[in-house]
Symmetry: C2
Subunit: 163 residues, 2 copies
């Protein structure tokens, strides 16, 4: 079974936890075993948000996960990026895993959004799905769906190159 | 079957959607049929957060719900209160339903927290569970659990929750 990892940083945006559950459910439906690696506060929100663990079956601390991480551990990387720390995590995981990767970039402030997008572009060749998002998760959800749907996963092994 | 209604206002806090799912699950486990009445943006977050509708089976628009509301429609009212509009909704639903009620008051700013608590106290005789909460849902979850557990509600099997 193919394995995906989702990275969650500090949960400042009301959209992050709902979208993390949504993405986990979608990737599971695509045939992935999904692990969510997060900061302690993001993990608590996830636990409250899915008390029976219907959606998120595998949760781990992002720091300990990073400590033991090797290339080949996961087949797909999805990073939630809306803070500097989250960009660093994504870039680090990206270079260690060296696999198909998608950065979900979001912020309520358009300048920060652009800055995070550019930082991801300068440091990785990952696919990027981005939108202004805070209260309303729909624009980001639409872009996430589009990015995941076009991956044709998990059958296709080819990496989609962006420039 | 007893019926409970949960009121959700504008989802500014990252804790609101996760706690709404949590409360729905808890009340369902206590034997209630639960309806969540919310603003459109809170509803979207709830849909993304529970894409297979495992937890929240009945969602309605808070304004239309209010239009058709009568005493006796619900046996228990739980209001999420962290904005002026949410206080007004809670007080209004409280006086129409005239039933067992709990206000879950939360805010990151302690002065606003106190102000909302006092407003609820001055206008209703509802029970209040309150805590500072933003990123970390735990203090509020603990108070919600305590308030619900001490209610004399229809009993089903109790669940032990760790956090």
């Amino acid at each position: 079974m193919k394995k995906a990892i989702i990275l969650l940083g500090c949960p400042e945006s009301p959209s992050q936890t709902p979208l993390a559950v949504y993405a986990t459910n979608k990737l599971t439906g695509m045939g992935y075993k999904v692990t969510v690696a997060s900061t302690p506060s993001a993990k608590k929100l996830l636990e409250v948000s899915d008390p029976e663990e219907y959606y998120v079956k595998n949760k781990t601390d992002i720091e300990s996960c990073l400590d033991g991480l090797d290339q080949g551990d996961y087949d797909f990387l999805l990073g939630f990026v809306h803070k500097d720390a989250a960009v660093s995590y994504f870039v680090t995981f990206y270079h260690i895993l060296n696999t198909k990767s998608l950065a979900l970039v979001f912020h309520r402030d358009p300048e920060k959004l652009e800055y995070f997008e550019n930082t991801v572009k300068e440091n990785t060749e990952a696919e990027i799905a981005s939108a202004r998002a805070y209260h309303n998760p729909t624009p980001l959800k639409v872009r996430l769906d589009r990015a995941l749907d076009k991956q044709d996963m998990p059958k296709k092994e080819d990496k989609v190159e962006d420039s």
